[in-house]
C-alpha cells in the first residue's frame, strides 16, 4: 500500500506532461469527431451543430444519385492511383541512378536540388504553374506555342490538358521526397551483397535486378500500401489552388476535398459537405486499417500500429 502511494506520487508529473497534448487533441481532433453528426442533421446556423434537427441519411443520398459525387470520387481515386504508379516508378529509378553516380559531391548536389519543390507551398507552385500556363503572357503560349506556329492555348479553360498538368505538378513536387526515401533504403543494403555479385561477374544491370530491387522490395510495398490507405484523400492545394479554382476545369479537378470545401464555403451546403467528409473519413479509416494490417504481416517494424 505504501509502495503504491509512493509510485503514484512518483508518476503524477508524467501525467501532467500529457496534459497540453491531451487538451489539444481533444479540441482539434475529438470534438470534430463528435461534430461529424452534423452529416445526419439538417444544418441550421442559428441552432448550431448540436441543435439542428435530425434528418437521417438524407445528406448522403447525393453520393449514390448524382453525377457530381461520382466525378469527385473517380477523380480522387484515379489521380491517386496514377500518382502511386508513376511516382513510385520514377522515384525508384532516380534513386537507383543516383546511387550509381560515383562523385559524392554530385550526388549530394542532385539530392539537395531535387528536394527543393518539397519545401514550397502549393500557393507558390500555383504561381509557378501560372507563369508557364497563363493564356495571355504565359511562357508556353508566348514561346513554345509560337515556335510551332499554333494558336495560343487557353489552358485554364481546357479540361483535356489538366489530368496531365496535375500529374506533372504532383511528380515535380514529390519526386525528391520519394527519391530520398528509396535512396536511403538503397544505402542501407548490405554492401557485401554487391561485392559478392561483383565476384560472380554480375553486370551493372544484373546487380540492380538481383540486389538493389530485392533490397527495395519491402520499402516499395510498404510505401505503396500506405499510399493506398490514403487513396480517398487528396492534396487540396494541388486540385484547388493550382487550377486557380477555374470553373470549366471542375470535371477533371474536383476531388472529395475540394468538394467539401466548395460545399461548405461557396455553396453553403453544410449537410452534404459533411456527408462527403464523413464518407471520406470512414472509407479512409477502413483502408488505412487494412493497409496497416498487411504491412504488419510483411514487416512489423514499419507498420503504424
Amino acid at each position: 500500500m505504501k509502495k503504491k502511494r509512493k509510485s503514484l506520487k512518483h508518476f503524477w508529473p508524467m501525467y501532467v506532461m500529457f496534459l497540453p497534448g491531451v487538451i489539444y487533441l481533444f479540441i482539434n481532433s475529438y470534438i470534430p469527431m463528435f461534430g461529424i453528426q452534423i452529416a445526419f442533421r439538417q444544418y441550421n446556423a442559428a441552432k448550431g451543430v448540436y441543435g439542428s434537427p435530425w434528418c437521417g441519411m438524407k445528406n448522403f443520398e447525393f453520393l449514390t444519385k448524382t453525377k457530381d459525387a461520382w466525378i469527385m470520387i473517380r477523380n480522387t481515386v484515379l489521380y491517386n492511383i496514377t500518382f502511386i504508379i508513376l511516382g513510385t516508378i520514377l522515384a525508384v529509378a532516380t534513386a537507383i541512378i543516383l546511387n550509381e553516380i560515383r562523385s559524392k559531391k554530385a550526388k549530394q548536389a542532385y539530392q539537395t536540388i531535387i528536394l527543393i519543390p518539397f519545401l514550397i507551398s502549393m500557393v507558390i507552385v500555383s504561381y509557378l504553374a501560372f507563369a508557364f500556363l497563363s493564356t495571355s503572357d504565359g511562357f508556353i503560349n508566348n514561346t513554345i506555342v509560337r515556335w510551332f506556329g499554333i494558336s495560343a492555348i487557353d489552358w485554364y479553360n481546357s479540361p483535356k490538358y489538366w489530368p496531365f498538368i496535375i500529374v506533372i505538378v504532383n511528380i515535380w513536387k514529390g519526386l525528391g521526397y520519394n527519391m530520398i526515401l528509396y535512396y536511403a533504403t538503397i544505402c542501407g543494403i548490405d554492401s557485401t551483397l554487391y561485392e559478392a555479385a561483383v565476384v560472380d561477374g554480375a553486370t551493372r544491370w544484373q546487380k540492380v535486378v538481383h540486389v538493389t530491387l530485392p533490397g527495395l522490395k519491402s520499402t516499395i510495398i510498404i510505401l505503396t500500401l500506405m499510399a493506398l490507405g490514403g487513396i480517398f484523400r487528396s492534396d487540396f492545394g494541388l486540385f484547388y489552388q493550382v487550377p486557380l479554382n477555374s470553373g470549366p476545369l471542375i470535371n477533371v479537378t474536383q476531388t472529395i476535398d475540394t468538394y467539401v470545401y466548395r460545399g461548405l464555403i461557396q455553396n453553403n451546403n453544410v449537410g452534404m459537405s459533411a456527408a462527403a467528409g464523413l464518407y471520406q473519413s470512414v472509407v479512409g479509416f477502413v483502408l488505412v486499417v487494412i493497409a496497416n494490417s498487411i504491412v504488419r504481416k510483411i514487416d512489423s517494424d514499419s507498420s503504424l500500429f
Binding site: 508524467m14 506532461m17 500529457f18 482539434n28 481532433s29 475529438y30 470534438i31 470534430p32 469527431m33 463528435f34 461534430g35 452534423i38 452529416a39 448550431g48 451543430v49 532516380t94 541512378i97 550509381e100 553516380i101 560515383r102 542532385y110 539537395t112 528536394l115 527543393i116 519545401l119 507551398s121 502549393m122 500557393v123 507558390i124 504561381y127 501560372f130 507563369a131 508557364f132 497563363s134 503572357d137 504565359g138 511562357f139 508566348n142 514561346t143 485554364y156 515535380w172 521526397y177 530520398i180 536511403a184 533504403t185 520499402t219 510505401l223 487540396f236 486557380l244 477555374s246 476535398d257 461548405l264 453544410v270 459533411a274 467528409g277 464523413l278 471520406q280 514499419s302 503504424l304 500500429f305
Partner: protein
C-alpha cells in the same frame, strides 16, 4: 570496363542534370520575371531571358507596399511561436510515452494514435473553430488549427527516446533527486537535440508554408502572412478573370499588383526557406527518412 563505366557515368549524370533543370526552371522563370521591366512583360510575357531588366518590383514591394513587411512579420511570428509551442507539446507528450514503467501509457498512446486514423474532417472542425472558439480573424487561426501538434512527430520523438536514451541515465538522475520535469529539461532534452532540430525544421516549414488556415479563417488583411497574401491576390485575380469572361462587373486590373510585383512577392515567399535550406539540408533529409520509414 573503365571505358564502359565512363559512358554510364556520363549517362547517369546527364539524366540527373536533366532532372535538376526541370526542378530549377520554374524558379528561374519566376526570378527572371520578377526582374523584368513591366512593359517588356506585357509585350513578351514571362521569359527566361528578358529583354529589359528592372528592379521596380522589389522597390515597389520594399518601399511602397506595407503589406509585404507586415506579411513577413506575421509569417515570422507564427513560425517562431508555432514551432516553439509545437515542440514543447510534442516533447511533453513523447517523453512520458517513452517511459516503460508508466502505468496506463497505452491509453495515451491510443488516444494519440486514433487521431491519425480517423478525423471528423473539415466541416465540423470549421464550425467548431468559427462558432465555439470564434477564431476567425485572430492570430490564433494561423497558429492553432491542425498545426500545433502532429501525432507523427510525437511518435518519431518517442521512438528516438526509447532507442537513444538509456534508462540508466534517467534512473541515475532520479536517484540524485531530480524531479521528472528536471529530468526532461536538463537530462533528456539536451540529448534529444538532433531529433528536436529535425522535427522543429519540419514544423517550422509547415507554419511558414501554411495558407489553408488563412483561406478558411482570415479575411482581415492585417493578418495576412506572406503565403496568405499570395493566395488572396491570386483569388482576386481569378475573380476578375471570371468576371471579365462573363462580361459582368467592372474589371479594374490596376488595383491589383502587376505581374512582376506578383513574381517578386513569390520570390520573397520562398527566400527565407532557400536561405536556410543549404545549411540544414541534412536535417530535412533525416526528418524525411526517419519520419516515413520508421514512424
Amino acid at each position: 570496363m573503365v571505358q564502359k563505366d565512363k559512358g554510364f557515368q556520363f549517362f547517369a549524370n546527364a539524366l540527373m542534370i536533366f532532372l535538376v533543370i526541370c526542378v530549377l526552371a520554374p524558379f528561374f522563370l519566376m526570378l527572371m520575371s520578377s526582374l523584368t521591366d513591366e512593359q517588356t512583360l506585357i509585350a513578351n510575357g514571362y521569359s527566361f531571358f528578358p529583354e529589359k531588366f528592372s528592379l521596380y518590383a522589389y522597390k515597389y514591394l520594399l518601399v511602397q507596399s506595407g503589406s509585404v513587411g507586415r506579411g513577413y512579420i506575421i509569417s515570422i511570428t507564427i513560425t517562431a511561436i508555432g514551432t516553439t509551442c509545437n515542440l514543447l507539446v510534442t516533447l511533453l507528450y513523447a517523453y512520458p510515452l517513452s517511459r516503460k514503467e508508466l502505468p496506463g501509457r497505452y491509453i495515451f498512446a491510443f488516444y494519440l494514435f486514433f487521431t491519425m486514423l480517423f478525423s471528423g474532417g473539415l466541416v465540423p472542425a470549421y464550425l467548431m473553430w468559427t462558432q465555439t472558439f470564434h477564431i476567425r480573424n485572430t492570430i490564433f487561426a494561423l497558429l492553432v488549427p491542425g498545426l500545433l501538434m502532429s501525432p507523427f512527430n510525437v511518435i518519431m520523438m518517442r521512438t528516438y527516446f526509447t532507442t537513444n536514451i538509456p534508462d540508466e541515465i534517467i534512473d541515475a538522475a532520479r536517484v540524485d533527486g531530480a524531479t521528472e520535469f528536471g529530468i526532461l529539461f536538463k537530462v533528456v532534452f539536451p540529448m534529444a537535440k538532433p531529433i528536436a532540430a529535425t522535427i522543429g525544421l519540419l514544423v517550422g516549414l509547415a507554419y511558414w508554408n501554411d495558407w489553408m488556415n488563412g483561406l478558411y479563417y482570415i479575411n482581415d488583411d492585417k493578418l495576412y502572412s506572406i503565403q496568405v497574401l499570395l493566395m488572396k491576390i491570386q483569388r482576386n485575380l481569378d475573380q476578375l478573370r471570371q468576371q471579365a469572361q462573363n462580361g459582368s462587373g467592372n474589371v479594374n486590373l490596376a488595383e491589383l499588383p502587376s505581374t512582376s510585383v506578383r513574381m517578386a512577392l513569390t520570390v520573397m515567399g520562398i527566400l527565407p526557406v532557400m536561405i536556410i535550406y543549404p545549411f540544414l539540408q541534412r536535417y530535412f533529409v533525416k526528418g524525411i527518412t526517419i519520419g516515413a520509414v520508421k514512424g
